[in-house]
Protein backbone atom coordinates (compact mmCIF):
# COMPACT_ATOMS: atom_id res chain seq x y z
CA UNK A 1 0.00 0.00 0.00
CA UNK A 2 3.03 2.30 0.22
CA UNK A 3 2.40 4.36 -2.90
CA UNK A 4 4.94 6.92 -1.74
CA UNK A 5 8.41 6.45 -0.28
CA UNK A 6 8.77 7.24 3.40
CA UNK A 7 9.02 10.83 4.53
CA UNK A 8 8.19 12.87 7.60
CA UNK A 9 5.44 15.45 7.27
CA UNK A 10 5.69 18.70 9.22
CA UNK A 11 2.45 20.62 9.41
CA UNK A 12 3.96 24.02 10.10
CA UNK A 13 1.93 26.86 11.60
CA UNK A 14 4.45 29.72 11.59
CA UNK A 15 7.11 31.09 9.29
CA UNK A 16 9.74 30.75 12.04
CA UNK A 17 8.94 27.06 12.40
CA UNK A 18 9.32 26.59 8.64
CA UNK A 19 12.69 28.32 8.62
CA UNK A 20 13.85 26.15 11.53
CA UNK A 21 12.88 22.92 9.75
CA UNK A 22 14.54 24.13 6.56
CA UNK A 23 17.75 24.82 8.48
CA UNK A 24 17.73 21.34 10.06
CA UNK A 25 16.68 19.52 6.88
CA UNK A 26 18.23 21.12 3.80
CA UNK A 27 16.73 18.35 1.63
CA UNK A 28 13.19 19.08 2.79
CA UNK A 29 10.55 20.30 0.34
CA UNK A 30 7.64 22.63 0.79
CA UNK A 31 4.25 21.04 0.19
CA UNK A 32 1.58 23.40 -1.12
CA UNK A 33 -1.24 21.64 -2.94
CA UNK A 34 1.08 18.81 -3.93
CA UNK A 35 -0.31 18.87 -7.46
CA UNK A 36 3.25 18.92 -8.80
CA UNK A 37 5.33 17.57 -5.92
CA UNK A 38 3.23 14.51 -5.02
CA UNK A 39 3.09 13.47 -8.67
CA UNK A 40 6.88 13.68 -8.92
CA UNK A 41 7.39 11.76 -5.67
CA UNK A 42 4.95 9.17 -6.93
CA UNK A 43 6.92 8.78 -10.12
CA UNK A 44 10.16 8.21 -8.26
CA UNK A 45 11.64 11.47 -9.51
CA UNK A 46 12.02 13.00 -6.06
CA UNK A 47 12.30 11.45 -2.61
CA UNK A 48 12.52 14.27 -0.06
CA UNK A 49 12.95 12.99 3.51
CA UNK A 50 10.83 15.81 4.97
CA UNK A 51 7.78 17.63 3.60
CA UNK A 52 6.71 20.93 5.12
CA UNK A 53 2.99 21.54 4.64
CA UNK A 54 2.48 25.30 4.22
CA UNK A 55 -1.30 25.34 4.29
CA UNK A 56 -1.72 26.17 7.98
CA UNK A 57 0.80 29.01 8.03
CA UNK A 58 -1.49 32.04 8.43
CA UNK A 59 1.32 34.48 7.47
CA UNK A 60 1.43 32.93 4.00
CA UNK A 61 -2.31 32.91 3.37
CA UNK A 62 -3.08 36.60 2.98
CA UNK A 63 -4.11 38.25 -0.25
CA UNK A 64 -4.39 42.01 -0.53
CA UNK A 65 -5.22 43.95 -3.65
CA UNK A 66 -6.32 47.51 -4.39
CA UNK A 67 -5.77 50.15 -7.06
CA UNK A 68 -2.23 50.78 -5.83
CA UNK A 69 -0.68 47.39 -5.18
CA UNK A 70 -1.06 43.65 -5.05
CA UNK A 71 0.36 41.22 -2.51
CA UNK A 72 -0.32 37.48 -2.49
CA UNK A 73 1.01 35.03 0.10
CA UNK A 74 2.71 31.85 -1.08
CA UNK A 75 0.07 29.54 0.43
CA UNK A 76 -2.90 31.32 -1.19
CA UNK A 77 -4.89 28.95 -3.41
CA UNK A 78 -5.13 29.58 -7.14
CA UNK A 79 -8.95 29.47 -6.98
CA UNK A 80 -8.87 32.37 -4.54
CA UNK A 81 -6.66 34.48 -6.82
CA UNK A 82 -8.83 33.74 -9.86
CA UNK A 83 -12.04 34.76 -8.07
CA UNK A 84 -10.73 37.78 -6.13
CA UNK A 85 -12.78 40.86 -7.12
CA UNK A 86 -9.98 43.39 -6.68
CA UNK A 87 -7.43 41.23 -8.47
CA UNK A 88 -9.85 40.81 -11.36
CA UNK A 89 -10.49 44.56 -11.49
CA UNK A 90 -6.96 45.95 -11.12
CA UNK A 91 -4.71 43.04 -12.17
CA UNK A 92 -6.79 41.12 -14.71
CA UNK A 93 -3.73 39.39 -16.20
CA UNK A 94 -3.07 37.70 -12.84
CA UNK A 95 -6.66 36.60 -12.19
CA UNK A 96 -6.98 35.30 -15.74
CA UNK A 97 -3.70 33.36 -15.59
CA UNK A 98 -4.75 31.77 -12.28
CA UNK A 99 -8.14 30.84 -13.74
CA UNK A 100 -6.50 29.10 -16.70
CA UNK A 101 -4.39 26.74 -14.57
CA UNK A 102 -5.17 23.01 -14.74
CA UNK A 103 -8.83 22.45 -13.71
CA UNK A 104 -11.13 23.71 -10.93
CA UNK A 105 -10.28 20.94 -8.46
CA UNK A 106 -6.57 21.53 -9.05
CA UNK A 107 -7.09 25.23 -8.39
CA UNK A 108 -8.69 24.42 -5.02
CA UNK A 109 -5.46 22.65 -4.14
CA UNK A 110 -2.62 24.42 -5.94
CA UNK A 111 -0.87 27.36 -4.27
CA UNK A 112 0.76 30.49 -5.62
CA UNK A 113 4.17 29.46 -4.19
CA UNK A 114 3.93 26.02 -5.78
CA UNK A 115 2.98 27.60 -9.09
CA UNK A 116 5.89 30.04 -9.06
CA UNK A 117 8.35 27.26 -8.14
CA UNK A 118 6.74 24.58 -10.33
CA UNK A 119 9.25 22.01 -11.50
CA UNK A 120 10.21 22.30 -15.17
CA UNK A 121 8.67 19.76 -17.52
CA UNK A 122 9.81 17.49 -20.31
CA UNK A 123 8.54 14.56 -22.33
CA UNK A 124 11.44 12.48 -21.00
CA UNK A 125 11.06 13.59 -17.39
CA UNK A 126 7.36 13.55 -16.46
CA UNK A 127 7.14 9.79 -16.82
CA UNK A 128 7.02 6.77 -14.56
CA UNK A 129 10.17 5.26 -13.11
CA UNK A 130 10.21 2.30 -15.52
CA UNK A 131 9.55 4.51 -18.53
CA UNK A 132 12.53 6.67 -17.64
CA UNK A 133 14.67 3.66 -16.76
CA UNK A 134 13.94 2.16 -20.19
CA UNK A 135 15.49 5.31 -21.65
CA UNK A 136 18.47 5.18 -19.25
CA UNK A 137 17.09 8.29 -17.52
CA UNK A 138 18.41 11.73 -18.53
CA UNK A 139 20.48 14.64 -17.26
CA UNK A 140 17.71 16.14 -15.15
CA UNK A 141 17.66 13.02 -12.96
CA UNK A 142 20.43 10.44 -12.87
CA UNK A 143 21.20 9.91 -16.56
CA UNK A 144 24.12 10.98 -18.70
CA UNK A 145 22.46 12.51 -21.73
CA UNK A 146 19.68 14.87 -22.68
CA UNK A 147 17.29 13.05 -25.01
CA UNK A 148 15.90 16.29 -26.35
CA UNK A 149 19.35 17.55 -27.35
CA UNK A 150 21.70 14.55 -27.34
CA UNK A 151 24.66 16.78 -28.18
CA UNK A 152 23.89 19.05 -25.22
CA UNK A 153 26.98 19.44 -23.06
CA UNK A 154 25.39 18.97 -19.69
CA UNK A 155 22.51 21.38 -20.29
CA UNK A 156 18.85 20.47 -19.70
CA UNK A 157 16.08 22.20 -21.66
CA UNK A 158 13.04 21.16 -19.60
CA UNK A 159 10.33 23.79 -19.89
CA UNK A 160 8.98 26.10 -17.22
CA UNK A 161 5.18 25.87 -17.49
CA UNK A 162 3.67 27.83 -14.60
CA UNK A 163 1.05 30.34 -15.71
CA UNK A 164 1.30 32.94 -12.94
CA UNK A 165 4.93 33.88 -13.53
CA UNK A 166 4.52 35.49 -16.97
CA UNK A 167 1.44 37.38 -15.77
CA UNK A 168 3.35 38.76 -12.79
CA UNK A 169 6.45 39.51 -14.87
CA UNK A 170 4.48 41.94 -17.01
CA UNK A 171 3.67 43.81 -13.77
CA UNK A 172 7.35 44.02 -12.68
CA UNK A 173 6.56 41.86 -9.65
CA UNK A 174 8.91 41.15 -6.77
CA UNK A 175 9.10 38.04 -4.59
CA UNK A 176 9.72 37.93 -0.87
CA UNK A 177 12.01 35.07 0.16
CA UNK A 178 12.83 33.61 3.56
CA UNK A 179 15.32 31.02 4.69
CA UNK A 180 17.90 30.08 7.31
CA UNK A 181 20.16 32.92 6.08
CA UNK A 182 17.45 35.56 6.47
CA UNK A 183 14.84 37.33 4.41
CA UNK A 184 15.27 39.21 1.15
CA UNK A 185 13.24 40.56 -1.75
CA UNK A 186 14.24 40.12 -5.38
CA UNK A 187 12.70 40.93 -8.73
CA UNK A 188 10.55 37.98 -9.81
CA UNK A 189 12.52 37.94 -13.05
CA UNK A 190 15.67 37.13 -11.07
CA UNK A 191 14.04 34.11 -9.43
CA UNK A 192 14.29 32.34 -12.77
CA UNK A 193 17.72 31.41 -14.06
CA UNK A 194 16.90 28.77 -16.69
CA UNK A 195 18.88 30.37 -19.50
CA UNK A 196 20.14 26.98 -20.72
CA UNK A 197 23.12 28.36 -22.58
CA UNK A 198 25.47 25.81 -24.13
CA UNK A 199 28.37 28.26 -24.19
CA UNK A 200 28.48 29.00 -20.46
CA UNK A 201 28.89 26.75 -17.44
CA UNK A 202 25.95 26.49 -15.06
CA UNK A 203 26.38 28.90 -12.15
CA UNK A 204 24.36 30.31 -9.30
CA UNK A 205 22.84 32.97 -11.55
CA UNK A 206 22.88 31.13 -14.87
CA UNK A 207 21.13 27.77 -14.90
CA UNK A 208 19.06 25.49 -17.10
CA UNK A 209 16.02 23.20 -16.96
CA UNK A 210 17.48 21.42 -13.96
CA UNK A 211 18.76 24.42 -12.01
CA UNK A 212 15.94 26.80 -12.80
CA UNK A 213 15.48 28.82 -9.59
CA UNK A 214 17.92 31.19 -7.88
CA UNK A 215 16.77 30.14 -4.40
CA UNK A 216 19.60 29.69 -1.91
CA UNK A 217 19.82 26.55 0.26
CA UNK A 218 16.71 26.29 2.42
CA UNK A 219 15.19 29.42 0.96
CA UNK A 220 11.56 29.59 -0.11
CA UNK A 221 8.96 32.04 -1.41
CA UNK A 222 6.74 33.79 1.14
CA UNK A 223 4.86 36.28 -1.05
CA UNK A 224 4.73 37.96 -4.42
CA UNK A 225 4.06 41.69 -4.82
CA UNK A 226 3.41 44.11 -7.64
CA UNK A 227 2.47 47.75 -8.05
CA UNK A 228 -0.16 49.13 -10.37
CA UNK A 229 0.45 51.52 -13.27
CA UNK A 230 -2.30 53.97 -14.14
CA UNK A 231 -3.91 53.15 -17.46
CA UNK A 232 -2.28 49.75 -17.81
CA UNK A 233 -4.35 47.21 -19.77
CA UNK A 234 -3.43 43.58 -19.27
CA UNK A 235 -4.63 40.11 -20.20
CA UNK A 236 -3.57 36.47 -20.37
CA UNK A 237 -4.16 33.85 -23.03
CA UNK A 238 -3.08 30.28 -23.41
CA UNK A 239 -3.21 27.41 -25.85
CA UNK A 240 -3.34 23.83 -24.65
CA UNK A 241 -4.18 20.48 -26.14
CA UNK A 242 -7.57 20.47 -24.44
CA UNK A 243 -9.20 23.35 -22.64
CA UNK A 244 -8.92 21.89 -19.17
CA UNK A 245 -6.45 19.96 -17.02
CA UNK A 246 -3.56 20.30 -19.48
CA UNK A 247 -0.35 22.21 -19.01
CA UNK A 248 0.13 25.01 -21.55
CA UNK A 249 1.49 24.49 -25.04
CA UNK A 250 2.27 28.11 -24.45
CA UNK A 251 0.85 30.91 -22.31
CA UNK A 252 1.20 34.61 -23.04
CA UNK A 253 0.76 37.64 -20.78
CA UNK A 254 0.54 41.14 -22.22
CA UNK A 255 0.42 44.50 -20.44
CA UNK A 256 0.32 47.73 -22.41
CA UNK A 257 -0.62 51.39 -22.20
CA UNK A 258 -2.25 53.38 -24.95
CA UNK A 259 -2.09 57.20 -25.11
CA UNK A 260 -4.38 58.49 -27.83
CA UNK A 261 -3.32 56.51 -30.88
CA UNK A 262 0.13 55.80 -29.55
CA UNK A 263 1.36 52.56 -28.04
CA UNK A 264 3.04 54.04 -24.97
CA UNK A 265 4.24 50.94 -23.15
CA UNK A 266 4.38 47.24 -23.97
CA UNK A 267 5.40 44.23 -21.92
CA UNK A 268 5.01 40.64 -23.14
CA UNK A 269 5.89 37.44 -21.26
CA UNK A 270 5.65 33.73 -22.12
CA UNK A 271 5.50 30.38 -20.37
CA UNK A 272 5.75 26.81 -21.66
CA UNK A 273 8.59 27.58 -24.05
CA UNK A 274 11.95 27.99 -22.29
CA UNK A 275 13.41 26.67 -19.01
CA UNK A 276 12.27 29.98 -17.52
CA UNK A 277 9.29 32.25 -18.04
CA UNK A 278 10.48 34.80 -20.60
CA UNK A 279 9.81 38.52 -20.29
CA UNK A 280 10.51 39.63 -23.84
CA UNK A 281 13.46 42.03 -24.12
CA UNK A 282 13.27 44.89 -26.61
CA UNK A 283 9.55 45.68 -26.55
CA UNK A 284 10.24 49.30 -25.49
CA UNK A 285 11.71 49.95 -28.95
CA UNK A 286 8.37 48.99 -30.50
CA UNK A 287 6.54 51.73 -28.57
CA UNK A 288 6.09 55.42 -29.31
CA UNK A 289 3.97 55.16 -32.45
CA UNK A 290 0.64 53.80 -33.63
CA UNK A 291 -0.07 50.08 -33.57
CA UNK A 292 0.93 49.19 -37.11
CA UNK A 293 2.70 46.47 -39.07
CA UNK A 294 6.08 47.60 -37.80
CA UNK A 295 5.12 46.71 -34.22
CA UNK A 296 3.83 43.25 -35.13
CA UNK A 297 6.85 42.46 -37.30
CA UNK A 298 9.10 43.63 -34.51
CA UNK A 299 7.25 41.46 -32.01
CA UNK A 300 7.61 38.45 -34.31
CA UNK A 301 11.33 39.03 -34.56
CA UNK A 302 11.71 39.22 -30.77
CA UNK A 303 9.75 35.98 -30.36
CA UNK A 304 11.88 34.22 -32.98
CA UNK A 305 14.99 35.41 -31.22
CA UNK A 306 14.12 34.73 -27.58
CA UNK A 307 11.62 31.86 -27.55
CA UNK A 308 13.11 28.37 -27.73
CA UNK A 309 11.91 25.60 -30.00
CA UNK A 310 13.28 22.54 -28.21
CA UNK A 311 11.06 19.48 -28.47
CA UNK A 312 10.29 18.97 -24.77
CA UNK A 313 6.57 18.34 -25.24
CA UNK A 314 4.32 16.39 -27.59
CA UNK A 315 3.87 19.50 -29.72
CA UNK A 316 6.80 20.33 -31.99
CA UNK A 317 8.94 23.20 -30.73
CA UNK A 318 8.63 25.36 -33.83
CA UNK A 319 4.83 25.03 -33.63
CA UNK A 320 4.92 26.14 -30.00
CA UNK A 321 6.98 29.17 -30.93
CA UNK A 322 4.60 30.13 -33.72
CA UNK A 323 1.63 29.77 -31.39
CA UNK A 324 3.42 32.00 -28.90
CA UNK A 325 3.87 34.68 -31.54
CA UNK A 326 0.28 34.48 -32.77
CA UNK A 327 -1.19 34.61 -29.26
CA UNK A 328 0.94 37.64 -28.44
CA UNK A 329 -0.10 39.52 -31.59
CA UNK A 330 -3.77 38.83 -30.96
CA UNK A 331 -3.59 39.92 -27.33
CA UNK A 332 -1.71 43.12 -28.18
CA UNK A 333 -4.27 44.01 -30.85
CA UNK A 334 -7.21 43.23 -28.54
CA UNK A 335 -5.87 45.22 -25.60
CA UNK A 336 -4.90 48.18 -27.77
CA UNK A 337 -8.36 48.29 -29.33
CA UNK A 338 -9.78 48.48 -25.81
Amino acid sequence: MDALPEFALVRATTLEEMIGVRARHPDSRLLGGGTDLVVNIRRGILAPPVLIDVNDVAELRAIRADARSLEIGAAVKLAEVAAHEEVMRHYPVVAQAAGFIAGPTHRNMGTVGGNLCLDTRCLFYNQSEWWRAANHHCLKTTGEVCHVAPKSRGVCFATFSGDLAPALLTLNAEVDLAGPAGKRTIALENLYIGYARQDRPITESDGDGKYYLSLRPGEFVTAVRAGNTAGLRSAYDKVRIRRSIEYPVTGVAVALRRQGDVLADLRVAFTGTNPRPVLLKGTAELCGGPLEGRVFDGLDALVRDQIMSMKTTFTPGHYRRRVAGVLARRLVARLFAG
Partner: protein, 160 residues
Protein backbone atom coordinates in the same frame (compact mmCIF):
# COMPACT_ATOMS: atom_id res chain seq x y z
CA UNK B 1 6.49 8.38 10.90
CA UNK B 2 2.92 7.81 11.93
CA UNK B 3 0.42 10.11 13.57
CA UNK B 4 -3.15 10.28 14.74
CA UNK B 5 -5.64 11.36 12.10
CA UNK B 6 -8.91 12.68 13.41
CA UNK B 7 -11.58 13.62 10.90
CA UNK B 8 -15.28 13.61 10.21
CA UNK B 9 -15.69 11.04 7.46
CA UNK B 10 -19.10 10.91 5.79
CA UNK B 11 -20.62 12.65 8.78
CA UNK B 12 -19.07 10.41 11.44
CA UNK B 13 -16.07 11.19 13.59
CA UNK B 14 -13.17 8.79 13.10
CA UNK B 15 -9.70 8.39 14.54
CA UNK B 16 -6.92 6.33 12.96
CA UNK B 17 -3.16 6.03 13.23
CA UNK B 18 -1.78 6.76 9.74
CA UNK B 19 1.74 6.91 8.31
CA UNK B 20 2.83 10.35 7.05
CA UNK B 21 3.25 9.06 3.51
CA UNK B 22 -0.28 7.62 3.20
CA UNK B 23 -2.40 9.14 0.45
CA UNK B 24 -5.98 10.09 1.28
CA UNK B 25 -7.08 7.84 -1.59
CA UNK B 26 -5.36 4.80 -0.08
CA UNK B 27 -6.60 5.69 3.38
CA UNK B 28 -10.18 5.69 2.13
CA UNK B 29 -9.92 2.53 0.05
CA UNK B 30 -7.48 0.38 2.00
CA UNK B 31 -7.74 1.51 5.62
CA UNK B 32 -11.41 2.42 5.87
CA UNK B 33 -12.59 0.09 3.10
CA UNK B 34 -14.61 2.68 1.20
CA UNK B 35 -13.91 1.62 -2.36
CA UNK B 36 -16.39 3.97 -4.04
CA UNK B 37 -13.57 6.47 -4.58
CA UNK B 38 -11.63 5.25 -7.62
CA UNK B 39 -7.95 5.19 -8.50
CA UNK B 40 -7.71 6.26 -12.13
CA UNK B 41 -4.57 7.86 -13.46
CA UNK B 42 -2.92 8.09 -10.08
CA UNK B 43 -1.33 11.40 -11.04
CA UNK B 44 -3.86 14.22 -10.89
CA UNK B 45 -5.03 13.94 -14.48
CA UNK B 46 -8.47 12.28 -14.40
CA UNK B 47 -10.56 13.25 -11.35
CA UNK B 48 -11.81 9.70 -10.64
CA UNK B 49 -10.50 10.07 -7.08
CA UNK B 50 -12.40 13.33 -6.34
CA UNK B 51 -13.78 13.67 -2.81
CA UNK B 52 -15.05 16.68 -0.87
CA UNK B 53 -12.87 18.13 1.87
CA UNK B 54 -14.90 20.69 3.83
CA UNK B 55 -17.26 20.73 0.83
CA UNK B 56 -14.47 21.57 -1.66
CA UNK B 57 -13.60 19.05 -4.40
CA UNK B 58 -10.11 17.65 -3.93
CA UNK B 59 -8.05 14.99 -5.71
CA UNK B 60 -7.51 12.31 -3.07
CA UNK B 61 -4.64 10.78 -5.11
CA UNK B 62 -2.53 13.92 -4.51
CA UNK B 63 -3.67 14.62 -0.94
CA UNK B 64 -1.88 13.22 2.10
CA UNK B 65 -4.29 11.62 4.58
CA UNK B 66 -2.51 13.38 7.45
CA UNK B 67 -3.21 16.76 5.87
CA UNK B 68 -7.00 16.53 6.27
CA UNK B 69 -6.72 16.24 10.05
CA UNK B 70 -9.60 18.08 11.71
CA UNK B 71 -11.54 18.46 8.47
CA UNK B 72 -14.69 16.91 7.04
CA UNK B 73 -14.29 14.43 4.19
CA UNK B 74 -17.22 13.21 2.11
CA UNK B 75 -17.02 10.34 -0.35
CA UNK B 76 -19.65 9.01 -2.73
CA UNK B 77 -20.77 6.58 0.00
CA UNK B 78 -22.09 9.52 2.04
CA UNK B 79 -24.75 10.54 -0.46
CA UNK B 80 -27.51 7.92 -0.35
CA UNK B 81 -29.67 8.16 2.78
CA UNK B 82 -31.61 5.13 4.02
CA UNK B 83 -31.22 3.49 0.63
CA UNK B 84 -32.53 6.53 -1.24
CA UNK B 85 -30.23 8.02 -3.86
CA UNK B 86 -29.24 11.69 -3.64
CA UNK B 87 -30.22 14.21 -6.32
CA UNK B 88 -26.88 13.91 -8.14
CA UNK B 89 -26.92 10.12 -7.97
CA UNK B 90 -30.45 10.05 -9.37
CA UNK B 91 -29.42 12.47 -12.09
CA UNK B 92 -26.54 10.26 -13.26
CA UNK B 93 -28.71 7.13 -12.99
CA UNK B 94 -31.88 8.40 -14.66
CA UNK B 95 -30.26 10.60 -17.33
CA UNK B 96 -27.65 7.96 -18.26
CA UNK B 97 -24.71 10.06 -17.10
CA UNK B 98 -22.78 6.88 -16.41
CA UNK B 99 -21.64 4.12 -18.76
CA UNK B 100 -18.72 1.98 -17.57
CA UNK B 101 -19.03 3.93 -14.33
CA UNK B 102 -15.38 4.25 -13.47
CA UNK B 103 -15.30 8.04 -13.58
CA UNK B 104 -18.77 8.37 -12.03
CA UNK B 105 -17.95 8.68 -8.31
CA UNK B 106 -15.54 11.49 -9.14
CA UNK B 107 -18.05 13.30 -11.34
CA UNK B 108 -20.76 12.82 -8.73
CA UNK B 109 -18.62 14.32 -5.96
CA UNK B 110 -17.52 17.27 -8.12
CA UNK B 111 -21.21 17.84 -8.98
CA UNK B 112 -22.33 17.49 -5.37
CA UNK B 113 -19.70 20.07 -4.44
CA UNK B 114 -21.08 22.39 -7.11
CA UNK B 115 -24.70 22.08 -5.93
CA UNK B 116 -23.67 22.67 -2.32
CA UNK B 117 -22.16 26.07 -3.19
CA UNK B 118 -24.39 26.93 -6.14
CA UNK B 119 -27.82 25.25 -6.14
CA UNK B 120 -28.86 26.84 -9.45
CA UNK B 121 -25.88 26.38 -11.79
CA UNK B 122 -25.97 27.47 -15.42
CA UNK B 123 -24.70 25.19 -18.19
CA UNK B 124 -21.46 27.14 -18.09
CA UNK B 125 -21.16 26.73 -14.32
CA UNK B 126 -21.58 22.96 -14.71
CA UNK B 127 -18.98 22.71 -17.46
CA UNK B 128 -16.53 24.80 -15.45
CA UNK B 129 -17.07 22.80 -12.25
CA UNK B 130 -16.46 19.47 -14.01
CA UNK B 131 -13.27 20.68 -15.70
CA UNK B 132 -10.98 18.48 -13.60
CA UNK B 133 -12.82 15.25 -14.48
CA UNK B 134 -12.39 13.04 -17.52
CA UNK B 135 -14.84 10.48 -18.89
CA UNK B 136 -13.80 8.09 -21.68
CA UNK B 137 -17.34 6.81 -22.33
CA UNK B 138 -20.20 9.28 -22.26
CA UNK B 139 -19.03 12.24 -24.31
CA UNK B 140 -20.12 14.54 -21.43
CA UNK B 141 -23.50 15.57 -22.91
CA UNK B 142 -25.40 13.13 -20.72
CA UNK B 143 -23.32 14.11 -17.73
CA UNK B 144 -24.29 17.76 -18.09
CA UNK B 145 -27.95 16.76 -18.48
CA UNK B 146 -27.61 14.64 -15.36
CA UNK B 147 -26.33 17.56 -13.30
CA UNK B 148 -29.03 19.90 -14.62
CA UNK B 149 -31.65 17.35 -13.65
CA UNK B 150 -30.01 16.93 -10.25
CA UNK B 151 -30.24 20.69 -9.72
CA UNK B 152 -34.00 20.48 -10.45
CA UNK B 153 -34.42 17.63 -7.98
CA UNK B 154 -32.41 19.59 -5.45
CA UNK B 155 -34.65 22.63 -5.96
CA UNK B 156 -37.57 20.28 -5.20
CA UNK B 157 -36.02 19.37 -1.86
CA UNK B 158 -33.81 16.34 -2.58
CA UNK B 159 -30.36 16.59 -0.94
CA UNK B 160 -27.55 16.97 -3.50
Amino acid sequence: MARILELVLNGRRRVDAVPDNLLLLDYLREVVGLTGTKTGCDGGECGACTVLVDDQPRLSCLTLAASVNGQGVDTVESLAQDGRLSAVQRGFHEKLGSQCGYCTPGFIMASAGLLRRNPHPSDQDIRAALGSNICRCTGYVKIIEAVKYAAELHAGGVAP
